[in-house]
């Protein structure tokens, strides 16, 4: 699964710390999410989608085969 968090964050001109504060996680979690090392829970994904005012699918790009979605 890939994410567009970094891209959306830069578009909105928000730092990792500001985003972390907004969605109630640590900055390290944002770094891990952006690096693809950690997969967000549904609640966190929802909070991120609300923050960026987009749909969850626009932030998280699911790999059909890897996530067994075919």
């Amino acid at each position: 699964m890939q994410t567009r968090i970094q891209e959306l964050r830069k578009t909105k001109d928000v730092t990792q710390s500001e985003l972390a504060d907004a969605v109630n996680v640590t900055r390290q979690t944002i770094i891990s999410l952006e690096g693809g090392r950690y997969h967000a829970s549904l609640i966190l994904a929802h909070k991120l989608a609300q923050f960026f005012e987009v749909a969850i699918e626009e932030i998280f790009i699911f790999d059909q085969e890897d996530e067994n979605l075919c």
Binding site: A20, N24, V25, T26, Q28, T29, S32, Y38, A40, S41, I43, L44
Partner: protein, 159 residues
Amino acid sequence: MLGLFCSSKANNNEEYRKVIRIRMNRMILILIVGVITLVFALMAIYVWKITGKDQTLGVYMGLGSGLIFGAGCFLIKYNLILKNEEKLKIDRLNNTDERIQEISNKSYKIATMILLVGLYAVGLIGGIFYPVLQQVLLFLICLFLLGYMVSYKIYERRM
């Protein structure tokens, strides 16, 4: 690093304040257990005049003072956190962050596996020299597995 049994679901500082107060109460309980252990060891030495159990009583005294010291440190730490909004927020995030909680859960699994293997090995090898060790450690493994099964069944009904 998230401490053992420290994860929380508090959404804001006010909710987390309550969590901290509950933890402080637990620390007071641990402090009391420490005092009881220490007093018990001291009474065994000076009142009941028990002799020939120096090592055991030394362990009790160490345990008691360790619990008092540890609980005291945590009480001071929690007091400082409660007085400072910024520290409270940082501590809340460290305790509620889902990634940190997942890391903690994975660490629990590995630590449990190491503990079980360790208990089994000590029970098996140590049992040759001290048969009671074998019985105690294998009983502990059974107790762990039983505890797991019971809690699994309880959560299975709730979720």
